[in-house]
Point group: C2
Chain length 124, copies 2
């Protein structure tokens, strides 16, 4: 089991960015890397997740799993994002039971997408 | 080259659904099936794309391609959605040049997600 946590690096969270300031997306990326990244979770910077009006945003993907996109995040959400990513990584299909999802994942979902390749059946 | 066009069947487009009425998502699905579905595009009904406040929504996926989610759609958008899906299906990576995307795809993107498996290199 594994997951990729894609982080939009260029996100300005819908606001103007004063010259010389680090974009909120890059701040979120740095906060995630500085925290305890769970085993099985790989943090992947991306240039744009096309969710600009709902930034900062992250996307969780994994082979054979549903993908999820979450928005309206800040660097203060890093611990909850990583806890949610760990729970996602531990599933075969990306479907974490509702009550086991962090509140930000329950309330700030932008979209989910079915797996490109269905989950492999596990041996009994 | 191919694409799956996932259509959220249960979408109520954020509105109450009068008893006995067909949900807007199911109406969009029916309109897509009734139109000329381009070669290489497969229409796939799904129960929920978790974009409920921005419905109706569809998601485009394909092996090795970026995935895209679009929202605020109605059954009247079926021809444009299918034109956009055909352009997407014809790409190796899901990245359709901006000017070749239907206006609804340019203006109503909810999110995009990198491919789980990177695009295969094509022979020269």
């Amino acid at each position: 089991m594994a997951a990729k946590l894609h982080v939009c690096m260029t996100c300005r969270a819908g606001l103007p960015l004063p010259e010389g300031e680090v974009p909120p997306g890059a701040r979120l990326h740095a906060a995630l890397l500085a925290a305890d990244v769970p085993v099985g979770v790989e943090i992947v910077p991306v240039e744009c997740l096309s969710a600009c009006s709902q930034g900062c945003s992250v996307a969780l993907t994994g082979a054979g799993k549903w993908s999820y996109v979450y928005g309206r995040l800040t660097d203060l959400d890093a611990p909850d994002i990583l806890a949610g990513a760990a729970a996602y990584a531990a599933t075969p299909d990306g479907l974490v039971p509702w009550r086991e999802r962090p509140v930000i994942f329950r309330k700030q979902s932008l979209a989910r997408i079915p797996p490109t390749i269905p989950p492999q059946e596990t041996a009994p």
